[in-house]
C-alpha cells in the first residue's frame, strides 16, 4: 500500500511516468473512480474540494453525498447535461509514479474523443458495472484502445457494493472478460472488483471482499510494468526540421521514434537511400554521446546530404518507402468516408496527399465481425487500401508506433477526418483493382484541395474589372489555387468570334461564357470572368447555368464619370461622338446588380485592398 506522504525531491526526480486512460460511461462511475482516488489520497487541493462540496449541494448527487464526477466534468455543457463530452486530463503522483489520467467519455457519439485520450496512454482502466456485466460499449472501448496501441488493460468491476460484494457475480464477469480478451491475446490484462463510491479496492484493499487476493487499483497502477517491446529495435528518427543558424552548422531536429544511436554510427536517409555517419548528438540542446527512444535530439552528419522535414534517418530498422499500403481507420468526420476521396495523410513529420481507393471492409466495433461497406460513418472502424501521390516512409504500427500511425486531414474543411494505423505495405502486384467510381466534380475539387466557383465581375467599361480580375487571379495562383480567367481577349477572339452585338448575339455570348465557366468549375477550377454584362437578366441566366452556389457576383461599381475620365481605350470619346452605337452607360443602360456578393469601387479603394478583399472571401469560406 502506498504512503501518501509527499516524498523528498531526490525520490521524485527518479519517478516514472504512467499515462492511463479510463473508459466507461458516467453510469459506470468512471469519473467517480478517479475523483475518489484523488480525494481519498488528498491529491486535490483544498479549494477544489470546497468547490466540489458546493457544487455537490447544488447538483444531482443529493443527500449530502459528494459527487466526485464534478471534479472532472469541466465544460459548462457537460455540467449542465451531466455527461462527459471530451477527454479531461488529471495529474497526480505518488512515491512510485507520476500519473497522467485521460478521463474519457463513454458515450458512443464521443468515441473519437475517447480515441484521443487512449492514443497517448500506455494502459487502459475499463469500467464495468457489476450490476450489468459487460456491455456492448465494453467491447467497443477495448477495440478502440487496442486500435490506437494500448497493450495493458485493467478491468475495474465497479459498484460491487450494489451486488453485496458477491464473489459469484464477480467471477461470472471475470470469465466474460477472459472470453473478450481471447481476441486480443497479445495484450496484458488484470481484473479488480471495486466500489468507487464506497472506496473499496480503490486506494486500499477492501475488507469487504476478502475473497479477492489481488491488489487494489492504485497500488496496481503504481507497480505495473508497461515497458515497451524489445530493446532490439532499429533506430528511426523522423526529421522535424533542419537547424541552420549559420553555414557551419546543419543539424537535424527530431524525437527518436525507436532504438538508439551513438556518435559515429552510420545512418541511412529515407526515402533517398543515401547514408552518412553521425558527427554529433545534442539531447535537448546539450551535447551527448548517444540518444535513445523518446529523446528530443539534434543530429549532425559527417556528409552534407539533401535532408529536409519528412525524411527519416534510420539504422537497421524495417522502415520503408512506398506509395501503397493497407490501413485500419477510425472514421471521425461527420461526412462519411467514400472510396475515391482525396485527403492529406499525415504520418510522423510527413504530409502527403493521397486517395483511399478501396474500402476492404468495415469492422463491427462490438462484435469484431467484418462487414462489406461502400461508405464508412463517423465512429466506425474500417480497413482500406491507400494510394499516395508521393512516397511515404513508414513501418507497420505493431513495430513502430510513430512510423505506423497517421491522421487524415480533409483538404477543404481542414478537419481531422480519421486516425489510422498501418497494417502492411502493398505492392503493385497486390491485385490492385481500382474501385468502380465516377470521377465527380467533388472528387476533382478534393484532389485540387479547393472549392470550384465562378467569380463573375460585372461593371462599366473602364471600371477596372479586368485589372482587378487579373490581380485577384495572380494572388490566388500564388497561393496555389488553380484558376482560369475568361475575358474579352480570350473569348471574343476565339470561341465567340462569330458573334456580333445584336441582342440575340449578346445573349448567346453570355450563355457560352457561362457554359464554359461551368465546365471549368466541374473540372475543379476557380473561374474569373470579366465582361460588362450590363443586363440583370443575362447575369441571372449565367447564374442559373453555373449554379447559384458557385456563382459569385462581383460588382465593380466605379462611377461612370470616373470610367469616362479614365477612358483607357478611347471608347467613351467615340461613344460620345456617336461612333459606337449601344455603348453601355452612354447610349445603352447598365443595370446594377441588386444583391451582389461583393461591391468594389475602384475610385475609392486601392487595387491591392480590393484584390485582397476578394481573395480573402474566396479562401476564407473555402
Amino acid at each position: 500500500m502506498a504512503s501518501w506522504q509527499h516524498s523528498t525531491n531526490v525520490e521524485r526526480e527518479q519517478r516514472s511516468l504512467l499515462r492511463f486512460v479510463t473508459c466507461g460511461s458516467v453510469d459506470d462511475g468512471k469519473s467517480t473512480l478517479i475523483g475518489h482516488m484523488l480525494y481519498d489520497a488528498k491529491l486535490i487541493f483544498a479549494d477544489q474540494a470546497q468547490a466540489l462540496e458546493l457544487d455537490s449541494q447544488a447538483g444531482s448527487a443529493g443527500e449530502g453525498k459528494l459527487d466526485y464526477a464534478l471534479l472532472l466534468d469541466g465544460l459548462a455543457a457537460e455540467r449542465e447535461q451531466g455527461i462527459t463530452i471530451d477527454v479531461a486530463y488529471r495529474y497526480f503522483s505518488t512515491e512510485q509514479r507520476s500519473f497522467i489520467v485521460a478521463d474519457c467519455p463513454g458515450h458512443e457519439e464521443y468515441t473519437r474523443n475517447m480515441a484521443v485520450g487512449a492514443s497517448n496512454s500506455e494502459l487502459a482502466v475499463i469500467l464495468v458495472d457489476a450490476t450489468k456485466g459487460l456491455l456492448s460499449q465494453t467491447y467497443r472501448h477495448v477495440r478502440i484502445c487496442a486500435l490506437v496501441g494500448i497493450r495493458h488493460y485493467v478491468f475495474a468491476v465497479n459498484k460491487m457494493d450494489l451486488v453485496d460484494y458477491d464473489q459469484a457475480v464477480f467471477e461470472k464477469i471475470e470469465a466474460d472478460i477472459a472470453t473478450l480478451m481471447e481476441e486480443h491475446a497479445s495484450l496484458s490484462c488484470a481484473v479488480i472488483p471495486t466500489s468507487a463510491r464506497e472506496g473499496d479496492n480503490v486506494t486500499a484493499t477492501s475488507a469487504r471482499m476478502p475473497w479477492y487476493t489481488g491488489e487494489a487499483l492504485l497500488p496496481y497502477l503504481e507497480q505495473v510494468d508497461v515497458g515497451t517491446s524489445s530493446g532490439e529495435q532499429g533506430f528511426t528518427l523522423p526529421v522535424q526540421r533542419v537547424c541552420r543558424p549559420d553555414p557551419s552548422f546543419r543539424g537535424y531536429e527530431g524525437t527518436v521514434a525507436t532504438g538508439s544511436i551513438r556518435v559515429g554510427d552510420t545512418v541511412r536517409v529515407l526515402p533517398s537511400g543515401t547514408s552518412s555517419k553521425v558527427a554529433s548528438v545534442l539531447v535537448a540542446g546539450e551535447p551527448a554521446d548517444a540518444a535513445t527512444q523518446g529523446q528530443a535530439v539534434t543530429l549532425t552528419l559527417a556528409d552534407e546530404l539533401d535532408i529536409s522535414r519528412g525524411c527519416v534517418l534510420e539504422r537497421e530498422s524495417a522502415a520503408q518507402a512506398s506509395t501503397l499500403f493497407v490501413t485500419t481507420l477510425l472514421w471521425m468526420d461527420d461526412a462519411p468516408l467514400v472510396a475515391g476521396k482525396n485527403y492529406l495523410f499525415k504520418l510522423a513529420t510527413q504530409t502527403v496527399p493521397g486517395t483511399i481507393y478501396e474500402i476492404t471492409h468495415k469492422v463491427d466495433a462490438t462484435t469484431g465481425k467484418r462487414l462489406a461497406a461502400k461508405s464508412v460513418a463517423k465512429n466506425e472502424i474500417c480497413s482500406c487500401r491507400v494510394s499516395l501521390g508521393r512516397q511515404l516512409v513508414f513501418e507497420p504500427f505493431a513495430q513502430n508506433r510513430t512510423l505506423g500511425s497517421l491522421i487524415l486531414i480533409d483538404r477543404i474543411t481542414n478537419a481531422t477526418a480519421a486516425a489510422g494505423t498501418i497494417t502492411h505495405k502493398l505492392s503493385r502486384s497486390d491485385n490492385l483493382t481500382y474501385h468502380q467510381m465516377d470521377v465527380t466534380r467533388q472528387l476533382r475539387e478534393e484532389a485540387l484541395g479547393q472549392r470550384a466557383r465562378t467569380l463573375w465581375f460585372t461593371g462599366l467599361s473602364g471600371s477596372g474589372k479586368s485589372t482587378l480580375a487579373n490581380a485577384v487571379e495572380q494572388r490566388l495562383h500564388a497561393q496555389g489555387v488553380h484558376t482560369m480567367l475568361l475575358d474579352g481577349d480570350n473569348v471574343r477572339l476565339g470561341l465567340n468570334r462569330n458573334l456580333g452585338f445584336t441582342e440575340a448575339d449578346r445573349i448567346e455570348n453570355i450563355r457560352r461564357i457561362a457554359e464554359v465557366a461551368k465546365l471549368m468549375n466541374d473540372a475543379g477550377l476557380v473561374v474569373l470572368t470579366s465582361f460588362i454584362s450590363p443586363f440583370a437578366s443575362d447575369r441571372r441566366r449565367a447564374a442559373e447555368i453555373i449554379g447559384q452556389d458557385s456563382f459569385v457576383e462581383v460588382y465593380v461599381s466605379t462611377p461612370l464619370e470616373v470610367c469616362e475620365q479614365r477612358d483607357v481605350k478611347g471608347l467613351y470619346a467615340k461613344a460620345r461622338a456617336c461612333e459606337i452605337p449601344n455603348f453601355t452607360g452612354i447610349s445603352s443602360p447598365y443595370e446594377p446588380p441588386e444583391r451582389p456578393d461583393i461591391v468594389i469601387d475602384t475610385s475609392t479603394e486601392s487595387l491591392e485592398d480590393a484584390a485582397e478583399r476578394i481573395v480573402g472571401m474566396v479562401l476564407g469560406d473555402a
Binding site: N9, R12, E13, F45, A46, D86, Y91, I100, R112, K346
Partner: protein
C-alpha cells in the same frame, strides 16, 4: 518510453511540440507573460532550437498594471537571450483610463482579452505559444495541445479537433489560428522542480521577502506603486510574502511564506493545500464556468 525521469519525458514532449509548430506554422509567436511558466517555456525553446536562436519573437501584452519587478525582469531576460520582444498595449484603453480598481471585469476584457486579439490581428500571427497547463483549471483540463481558434479567436469546446498520438493538425485557413500549449501536461510541482533542476531565472517576486502589502477579503495585495487605491481604513503593513502566480498587481494575491530559496519553494509547493489559481482574483468573477467563458471569447 525509457526516460530517466518524468521531467525528462515532459521536457522531450514540450520540445517536440515547439518544433512541430515552427516547422508547420507560418507566423509563430510566443506569448511571454513573464511568469514562471513563461520562463520555463522560454528555457525549453532555447534548448529546442539550440544552437539556433528560437526562430520567433516573444510577445508581451502589457496591461500597464504589472508588478514593476516583472517588467525589469522581462527586459533583462530579453537582453540576455537576444530574443525579439513585441510589447503590445491597448492604447485606447490606456487613454480611456481603464484600470483594475474602477472597471473590474471590463478591465480584464479590454486590457487583456481585447488587447491580445488586437495584437494577434495586427501582426497576423497564425500560431501562438502559451504557457497554460491542464492542471490549472477545469476547462483547461479539456483543451487540446494545438487548440484551434476561428477568425474571431473563439474556442469551440464542444467541437475540438481530435488530436491522436503526437500527430497535430496544424492546417488553418486565412484569419484562423492555433494556440499551442507545450506545457499542457506539466503540473505546478513539475514546473518548480524543473526550474530547480535547470536553474532557470525567475522574477524575484516568487521568493518570500518583507513587502509592503494590504490584506483585503482574504487576499494579500502588494502596494507596488502610488496608483494603489486604499479602501477606507486600510493601512499598508509589512509582511513576509511571496507570489505563486504573477499578473496585474492589484489582481494578484500573495501568500505568507518564508520560502526564500528555490528549494524552499519546491518543498512548500509539495505540501500546498490550495491550488495556485486561488491567488488569481480574475477566475472568481462569474462562477466556475467563468474561465471557459473567457476562453471561448478569446482569452488565453
Amino acid at each position: 518510453m525509457p526516460y530517466a525521469s518524468h521531467l525528462e519525458a515532459l521536457e522531450a514532449e514540450a520540445i517536440y511540440i515547439m518544433r512541430e509548430t515552427i516547422a508547420e506554422c507560418e507566423r509563430p509567436v510566443m506569448l511571454y507573460s513573464i511568469g514562471k511558466d513563461s520562463s520555463v517555456m522560454l528555457h525549453l525553446a532555447l534548448k529546442a532550437f539550440a544552437p539556433e536562436k528560437p526562430p520567433f519573437p516573444l510577445m508581451h501584452v502589457n496591461t500597464t498594471w504589472k508588478f514593476h519587478e516583472m517588467i525589469e525582469f522581462r527586459d533583462r531576460r530579453v537582453a540576455e537571450t537576444g530574443m525579439e520582444l513585441i510589447e503590445y498595449i491597448n492604447q485606447e484603453g490606456l487613454a480611456a483610463g481603464i484600470n483594475p480598481f474602477d472597471h473590474g471585469a471590463a478591465y480584464t476584457d479590454i486590457m487583456k482579452t481585447q488587447a491580445l486579439k488586437d495584437a494577434l490581428d495586427t501582426y497576423g500571427f497564425t500560431a501562438v505559444f502559451g504557457g497554460a497547463r491542464r492542471d490549472e483549471e477545469k476547462s483547461r483540463a479539456k483543451e487540446r495541445v494545438f487548440s484551434f481558434r476561428d477568425a474571431n479567436h473563439a474556442w469551440d469546446p464542444k467541437n475540438q479537433r481530435p488530436e491522436l498520438w503526437n500527430l497535430f493538425n496544424t492546417q488553418v485557413n486565412a484569419g484562423e489560428s492555433v494556440r499551442v500549449f507545450p506545457l499542457s501536461n506539466w503540473t505546478e510541482t513539475d514546473i518548480w522542480q524543473y526550474i530547480q533542476q535547470e536553474g532557470i531565472p525567475i522574477v524575484p517576486l516568487y521568493f518570500a521577502k518583507e513587502r509592503t502589502v494590504v490584506e483585503r477579503d482574504g487576499q494579500i495585495l502588494l502596494v507596488d506603486d502610488d496608483r494603489f487605491r486604499f479602501l477606507p481604513g486600510e493601512k499598508p503593513v509589512q509582511a513576509k510574502v511571496r507570489f505563486r502566480t504573477l499578473g496585474c498587481y492589484p489582481l494578484t494575491g500573495g501568500v505568507r511564506s518564508d520560502a526564500d530559496t528555490i528549494d524552499a519553494i519546491v518543498a512548500e509547493t509539495l505540501g500546498a493545500t490550495t491550488s495556485e489559481r486561488t491567488t488569481r482574483i480574475i477566475d472568481y468573477d462569474g462562477g466556475s464556468a467563468s474561465m471557459e467563458k473567457r476562453k471561448r471569447e478569446g482569452y488565453f
